[in-house]
Symmetry: C2
Amino acid sequence: MVTTKNSRADVIAAAGRLFSQKGYHGTSMRDLGRELGLLGSSLYAHVDSKQDLLVEVVEAGGQLFQASADAAIQVEGSAEARLRALIDGHIEVVLENVDVARTFLNEARDLDHEHREKVLKARDAYESAFRAVIAEGRDDGSFRDDVDPKTAAIFILSILNAIERWYRPGGRLDRARLVDEVTAFVESGLT
Amino acid sequence: MVTTKNSRADVIAAAGRLFSQKGYHGTSMRDLGRELGLLGSSLYAHVDSKQDLLVEVVEAGGQLFQASADAAIQVEGSAEARLRALIDGHIEVVLENVDVARTFLNEARDLDHEHREKVLKARDAYESAFRAVIAEGRDDGSFRDDVDPKTAAIFILSILNAIERWYRPGGRLDRARLVDEVTAFVESGLT
DNA sequence: ATTAGACAAACGAACGTTCGTTCGTCTGTC
DNA sequence: GACAGACGAACGAACGTTCGTTTGTCTAAT
């Protein structure tokens, strides 16, 4: 036996890969079948619908980010240390789950209303971890006192969310240096 | 006569609107016809193909950004002043041409190879204006001397390109304050 | 002033293809 | 012999696009 059987998880993983590369509407069920060495129709033994696949991938992305934030805000020490943990965690999630992260960030538009709302709430919850740490650092004097946590959180997440658009592993920056560069830029933007 | 005739420019403008909202593959020629009060087939009196429309919208976006950068780098005074002009110009382009800018930033993936390459070159040329100004400011001592222009340019453009994702006119930030906030964050990140 | 002709804009039917999805059947494994 | 995985034919709908035709407007010749 050369090939293993495909599981539901395999299908979802392949969907994440294709959705992130060609977009939801740019990916057909037959494309996805080909990716797994199957016919498009065979996928329906594993999932109910194409939309289902998008939901699965996007929710997986949301959970990865939230888990990362939950761990980061429990870091002991200064607000600065927690902010660094948030940045580090975000970059880890993005670099180790590019496809899922990309789909979460760029393809949520094609979710049905209900799930799209859920993603918006999840993103706001995630962003609020950044806002809270920034506010904390501002109030205890580590950051400038005219820092607006809302705006600063958006700017930091803008930098983090864009990484998937330009970062290439094996390029001039390895992951550790990437984290350093982002942290340095952000922290000097806050102090 | 109640309605004016539709011109090629009207079709392209409507395409920009729909592409930016629903994506290229998420927009059908019949959708686009409906937007203009036409049948899908009638659009072919104005354009050769759907791909043509994407090319037109994306190239328009590229020209807007390049024109803005060309003007900004001619500003007299410090490198800091030119950087501020670049930021100001970028935000102006985005806010006054949301649909075109969005399509330029997010839908270039669906261009044919030739035009996609062209867009990548255009983006690099635009980014190089930022790199040059940052390098200038670092060399004359206005910015920190350990600033890496490549990375800094990417971070700044990450912030600028994300604006379209969250900024809502009429919200808590008007355009002038948005420019101030970005400039302040970026400049303190560089100094 | 009237008319004929040219022209662009839009229609609406139709094309071949692809889409997401269903279903009955077959194959291999526990 | 139960059961999951995959097949392959088929479905109706939607896709991008073509084409012959109709409509309305502007211009030039009468």
